[in-house]
Amino acid sequence: MSEHVDSIKTYGGIWLLLLVLTGVTTAVAFVDLGAFSVVVALAIAVVKMLLVALFFMHVRHSTRLTKLVVLGGLLWLAILLTFTLADVWTRGLIGTPGR
């Protein structure tokens, strides 16, 4: 009945990697990267999310349907963000206030 069980060593490795990444993202924030600081911070956060999701939440060995559900959720969050920002960031581009 019990499907694939990971070893403590795997979980320990992932845990340490997560702690290291937390330290890295905190340190990097104090360095002036201009517009890149946001990109780096988000990239590290995405990597940490993938680690937790794939290893700790066993998405690695779960069914194709579960992977689809996870991807769907993230895709819908992206739809909400991109289409709203598409409006906010192109306001006034045409040179007429309010359009």
Partner: protein, 540 residues
């Protein structure tokens, strides 16, 4: 006469009695009936508000109620109808009752969560009812800020709380349906052997899961803004009121597909059964349900064309709004094509199906008007938009709901409704509906704004026509109430399959046993294979 033995066969209605057996039931069929009563109650509350609005609009100066009261009337009409009738109606009543049976399951995946969903809807409904009785809310069902968060001094928070709670009822129903369809289909019931009603409810569940949480967070933000003045939507503190509209419509446009998709599912069933033919282009109709669910999330900006949304975003949303129109067109064409070379019966459900296709076609085509940027600038926020969405909600969803109710009534209660009275009420509803809402298209293009308590004199004739239609429509809706209750006692006994339909729900007794099937069904035929039922067809 019906022998006593047949009477005593145990089924889900006489399996247990008493209030507790209903209020603590975990049987999806009983929960479906609980929803039926709740939803019908809210339908008549919303209908009462609508009647008062139509009477008020008989005269340009509007003498029936003050403007404050009128503003509360149309708000509460909107809130009641949208959140407490249209969204729960078909998925929660017919969906709850028949989805498990149609895929050969004993019950939904999480029966206790299903009961929790009903309680959440009732609690949300009580909050909204309290708000109405305590003084009403006057922000419109759209709650646009900064009016709803700063300037309105009515019961906004209580209503927002009611919608917040009722939202979770919708989320959990969606969750239940998706897991049931994925994990609990009977052996042999592949995805493409499932009835189209299950496909459309599955697509609806996807929208409920992905969209409703954003409505919940919007209501939380309105609550925070109103209580703590945190400035999120208040321009004085740097907030952006148009952001509220983005969050609100991100849910509320897919919500209109939550309302119409289950209706489309019912129509696919009715058209197939009453022309005794598989639906033309089964896979196209099935995939168009899912396509509507997905594309429905990319178009909300067409509600913001003139609200200082950027012109480029407006173009993107207008372009995508035409994409979402195509699957609906495919469905209409396929339904009509199903009639070709069929054996068409004119039983009441089929009359409702014809009504649905006709009126939904008009509703959908006027959707193309408001999706065009050039026309929408003129017609948004006018009675043209009111007519457009009533053609789809009332002409579409409610027609389908009544059609489905008549079609499955023998299965739910074991009794037939009176055929002649039912056909009469269908005709009255069709005529009353058109007389109510067609004049509103003309009113809208003339420039009559929506939510107006007083209006210029030249619009009066069209308003009087519309009110006349509303009274006919109201009468049309009352007749079924009477004969449905009448049929419980005096209705002709209906066998297991009065219509000669092919769904699994018709292969068990009427009313069905507690666990739906005495022995687990195994599906061997395609979805609408009428050769299997031709043998034991009884006169309907």
């Amino acid at each position: 006469m019906i022998t006593a033995a047949a009477q005593e066969r145990e089924h889900y209605l006489n399996a247990s009695y008493g209030i507790k057996s209903w209020l603590l039931t975990k049987d999806h069929k009983r929960i479906g009936l609980l929803y039926l009563f709740t939803v019908t109650l809210f339908f008549f509350i919303g209908g009462a508000f609508a009647t008062l609005i139509r009477i008020e609009l008989l005269t340009p100066q509007g003498g029936l109620v003050s403007s404050e009261t009128y503003n509360k009337l149309f708000t509460m009409h909107g809130v009641t109808m949208v959140f407490f009738f249209l969204i729960p109606s078909i998925p929660a009543t017919l969906g709850n009752f028949f989805l498990p049976m149609m895929i050969g399951a004993r019950d939904l995946a999480f029966p206790r969560i299903n009961l929790l969903s009903w309680y959440l809807l009732v609690i949300g409904g009580l909050f909204a009812l309290f708000a109405m009785l305590a003084g009403g809310v006057d922000t419109g069902w759209t709650f646009y800020t900064p009016y709803s968060t700063t300037y309105s001094n009515t019961w906004v928070i209580a209503t927002a709380l009611g919608i917040f709670v009722a939202g979770f009822s919708s989320i959990l129903t969606g969750l239940n349906f998706v897991v049931t369809v994925h994990r609990m289909r009977a052996p042999g019931m592949t995805w493409f052997r499932m009835p189209l009603f299950v496909w459309s409810n599955y697509a609806t569940a996807l929208i409920q899961i992905l969209g409703t949480p954003v409505l919940a967070v919007t209501m939380v933000l309105v609550f925070c803004e109103r209580v703590f003045h945190i400035g999120i939507f208040d321009p004085a503190l740097g907030g952006d009121p148009v952001l509220f509209q983005h969050l609100f419509w991100f849910y509320s446009h897919p919500a209109v597909y939550i309302m119409v998709l289950p209706g489309m599912g019912v129509i696919s069933e009715l058209i197939s059964v009453f022309s005794r033919k598989p639906v033309f282009g089964y896979s196209f109709v099935a995939f168009s349900s899912v396509a509507i669910a997905v594309l429905g999330f990319l178009v909300w900006g067409h509600h913001l064309f003139v609200s200082t949304q950027s012109v480029y975003a407006g173009m993107v949303f207008s372009f995508l709004s035409y994409f979402v129109a195509i699957p609906s067109a495919i469905k209409v064409f396929n339904w009509t094509a199903t009639l070709y070379k069929g054996s068409i019966s004119f039983a009441t459900p089929m009359l409702y199906a014809f009504g649905f296709i006709g009126l939904f076609t008009i509703g959908g085509l006027t959707g193309l008007f408001v999706a065009a940027l050039g026309i929408d600038v003129h017609v948004t926020d006018t009675y043209f938009v009111i007519a457009h969405f009533h053609y789809i909600m009332v002409g579409g969803t409610i027609m389908a709901y009544l059609g489905g109710l008549h079609y499955w009534w023998p299965k739910i209660t074991g009794r037939m409704y009176p055929e002649l009275w039912a056909r009469l009420s269908a005709l009255v509803i069709f005529l009353g509906f058109n007389l109510t809402f067609f004049p509103q298209f003309i009113l809208g293009y003339l420039g009559m704004p929506r939510r107006y308590h007083v209006y210029p004199d030249e619009f009066q004739v069209l308003h009087v026509l519309s009110t006349a239609g509303a009274s006919v429509l109201a009468a049309g809706y009352l007749i079924p109430m009477v004969y449905f209750v009448w049929s419980l006692r005096y209705g002709q006994m209906a066998g297991a399959n009065p219509w000669g339909a092919t769904g699994l729900e018709w292969q068990t007794a009427s009313p069905p046993p507690v666990h739906n099937f005495d022995e687990m069904p195994v599906v061997t035929h395609e979805a609408y294979d009428y050769t299997t039922v031709l043998g034991e067809v009884e006169v309907g």
